[in-house]
């Protein structure tokens, strides 16, 4: 009988979420390096949403371990308030309102640069709590919890999937493809020492031209992903960075852009609510090794030595010559 099947299914589902408690659960998620594109985008019905497309950075990550226990929820370190809030929300969503436990969060993601440290802690915590209770949460569910915990959240819970993500709503506006075309990124922190509170920042107040200008950027991004064209991706990123420059200007933006151009980079990319700028290169081009070295030397000359050098399709750190 249909009703029977449904209720049996429901109870199995609840069972996997609620009863298979482990001694501890584990959660991990990679950071990112800002965005390829961030702006305002219409959904299918024409309604506008804030949205972004993240540039993954798989060489940094947050890790969380959760040990369920009755009573209070204790978080270490105790200043990871967002992660603690996310753990609480996750327990509540599993119906475990009286459950507490011990949450430990560790991260290699630099804080305040716009590389997703806050969301990574939150997502790792959510995954650890879910894992401790044998619950498999989908990316959309994790995203909804993350947005509730921290108002605006990055799309790292989707991993390498290329998605246009509504960061204040936690849902995907458009699935763009399995991954971005691979990029080699030379990373510069344009404001060393100056921490940006990426969460407290007011959202950019784009003007009417900019709201429209995001449309062709999205169009070119679709093509870049569909045909795997890293050069088009570089154009989209640079155009988005230019708009961002009117709202959260990066010091030495023009100098960095000029270095990127003269070194033969595909373009530049910024953390739209942070301080890092990435010079984008094509990892499939043999000239990239030379070009990256040339750009790194020039960045060094203007007092902005690159802090990081990575490929988006490999979890491997490269050291700048």
């Amino acid at each position: 009988m249909p009703g029977d099947v449904i209720s049996r299914f429901a109870s199995v589902r609840l069972g996997t979420r609620g009863t298979q408690q482990k001694e501890h659960g584990f959660g991990q998620v990679n950071g990112h390096h800002g965005e390829i594109l961030q702006g305002i985008f219409p959904d299918d019905a024409g309604r506008l949403h804030r949205g972004l497309v993240t540039l993954p950075c798989n060489i940094v990550s947050s890790t969380a371990v959760f040990r369920p226990a009755p009573g209070n929820l204790v978080t270490v370190p105790d200043d990871k308030l967002k992660a603690a809030e996310a753990a609480r929300l996750t327990l509540d969503s599993l119906g475990l309102h009286d459950q507490g436990g011990h949450l430990t969060v560790e991260s290699t993601i630099p804080v305040g640069l716009g590389m997703g440290s806050s969301t990574a802690d939150v997502v790792a915590a959510i995954r650890a709590v879910a894992d401790a209770h044998g619950a498999a949460l989908g990316a959309d569910e994790v995203a909804r919890l993350a947005v509730r915990a921290e108002t605006a959240s990055d799309s790292i819970m989707h991993g390498d999937l290329a998605v246009l993500f509504a960061q204040r709503e936690g849902n995907v506006l458009e699935h763009l493809g399995p991954a971005l075309p691979p990029l080699e990124v030379l990373s510069v922190n344009t404001a060393p020492g100056a921490l940006v509170d990426t969460v407290k920042q007011p959202p950019a107040d784009y003007d009417e031209w900019e709201i429209q200008a995001f449309r062709p950027l999205r169009g070119m991004l679709r093509r870049a992903i569909r045909i795997g064209d890293a050069a088009l991706l570089g154009r989209v990123a640079t155009a988005s960075a230019r708009i961002s420059q009117r709202h959260l200007p990066k010091p030495a933006f023009e100098e960095i852009n000029a270095i990127a151009t003269s070194a033969g980079a595909l373009g530049i990319q910024v953390a739209h609510s942070g301080t890092v700028v990435g010079l984008l290169f094509d990892p499939r081009n043999p000239a990239t090794v030379r070009r990256v070295a040339e750009a790194a030397a020039k960045l060094d000359d203007i007092g902005l030595p690159p802090a990081l050098h990575f490929r988006t399709d490999a979890a491997e750190v490269r050291h700048v010559a």
Binding site: L48, Q212, P216, R223
Partner: protein
């Protein structure tokens, strides 16, 4: 209205339209030349202007729209007014096409034909006066003002999106200029993705848009007797002036060679774009074809009518004649290096013709 308010607004109840008719069909004409063929290009800016006005309250549900036009912008407004339940008052003059006139009436438009031109300012000023009177007689009515409304060029982001998604990187954009909306809009959007985009505006002799003295023009749908604020002159690298006879012949060529049945402005754009694409075979060119050919069965697509045109030779020029100043433009195809300057700058300085256009580009 703040951005957050705009975003949180419920979608307009007056949102019916023709989304699948708004965007062009992209047709590859040669290895490096792509045509963007519109059904009726003005549908897109008309819809966007009405959407924005409805969103911020300038246009009320069931409200009245007043505009002066004798062309396709009026038709686009009439189509939208018909399906969205607006009253539309259009001011025109006796030069309005007979079939367009009938079609507007069928769509429920109140058509006010100004019968006598003013001694100073001609029909244009007389029509503007009649428009002002219509706006005063209908308090709360909305005037889209396609020549000055910034939502006109901004509407074309959707065409830029389509071009970017379908064609990727584009080197050169060619199109006719009348209100300034399509070319200024698309050029600025595409240039944001490619600062080196080469933009060619196509005008016609006796149009003041790019600095010719005003005069009678046989080729309609491009050019103007005033300089619309929506023309952003700094977007243009090159300007060409195409005469009626060669534009019509090129319109026929576009049909004969590429099976695209378009109007006369499309022919003017095709003439220039085809030349540039031939002389720059390694560059990707996109050109805009603003409307279809059905309205021109008795004229452009009629050999007898063409043969009776003044200056008709039946031969298409191979290349434009470069000129050093917009005032040097002849009745037939001329070209000029605009170099992304303001109109005043260009008129004061011109450009030496020693530069070969093809090489300079």
């Amino acid at each position: 209205m703040s951005l957050e308010m705009t975003m949180s607004q419920p979608l307009s109840r007056e949102s019916r339209g023709f989304p699948d008719y708004e965007l062009p069909r992209l047709v590859r004409l040669t290895d490096n030349l792509h045509g963007a063929a519109f059904f009726l290009m003005k549908l897109l800016p008309a819809r966007h202007m009405l959407d924005r006005a409805a969103a911020d309250g300038r246009l009320k549900p069931g409200g009245t729209i007043c505009e002066t036009t004798s062309g396709t912008f009026g038709l686009a407004l009439a189509m939208l007014a018909a399906v969205r339940g607006y009253r539309l008052i259009l001011v025109s003059d006796p030069a309005i096409d007979e079939h367009l006139h009938k079609r507007l009436l069928e769509l429920g438009v109140t058509l006010e034909i100004v019968e006598t031109p003013y001694e100073i300012g001609g029909f244009q000023t007389a029509r503007l006066d009649r428009l002002r009177a219509a706006l005063e007689a209908n308090p709360g009515s909305f005037c889209p003002s396609q020549y000055g409304n910034a939502d006109n060029p901004r509407a074309y982001a959707e065409v830029a999106e389509q071009i970017a998604e379908r064609l990727g990187h584009v080197d050169c954009l060619v199109g006719t200029v009348g209100s300034g909306g399509s070319m200024s809009g698309i050029a600025r959007f595409l240039r944001h993705l490619n600062p080196d985009l080469h933009v060619i505006g196509v005008d016609t002799p006796n149009s003041v848009v790019f600095g010719q003295p005003d005069g009678k023009r046989l080729l309609r749908g491009l050019g103007n007797s005033l300089v619309p604020p929506n023309v952003d002159h700094r977007q243009f690298d090159e300007v060409h002036w195409v005469g009626a006879a060669e534009a019509f012949l090129a319109t026929r060529r576009l049909h004969q060679h590429h099976a695209l049945y378009q109007g006369g402005t499309s022919g003017a754009a095709y003439l220039v774009a085809d030349w540039w694409a031939r002389t720059h075979p390694d560059r990707k060119v996109v050109t805009l074809f603003p409307d279809e050919g059905h309205r021109y069965v008795a004229t452009i697509y009629n050999d007898d009518w063409l043969a009776a045109l003044p200056g008709w030779t039946g031969v298409l020029p191979e290349a434009p004649q470069p000129v050093a100043h917009p005032s040097d433009v002849r009745p037939s195809w001329s070209s000029f290096r605009w170099d992304r300057r303001m109109l005043d700058e260009v008129l004061a300085a011109g450009t030496p013709v020693a530069h070969d256009l093809a090489e300079a580009a």
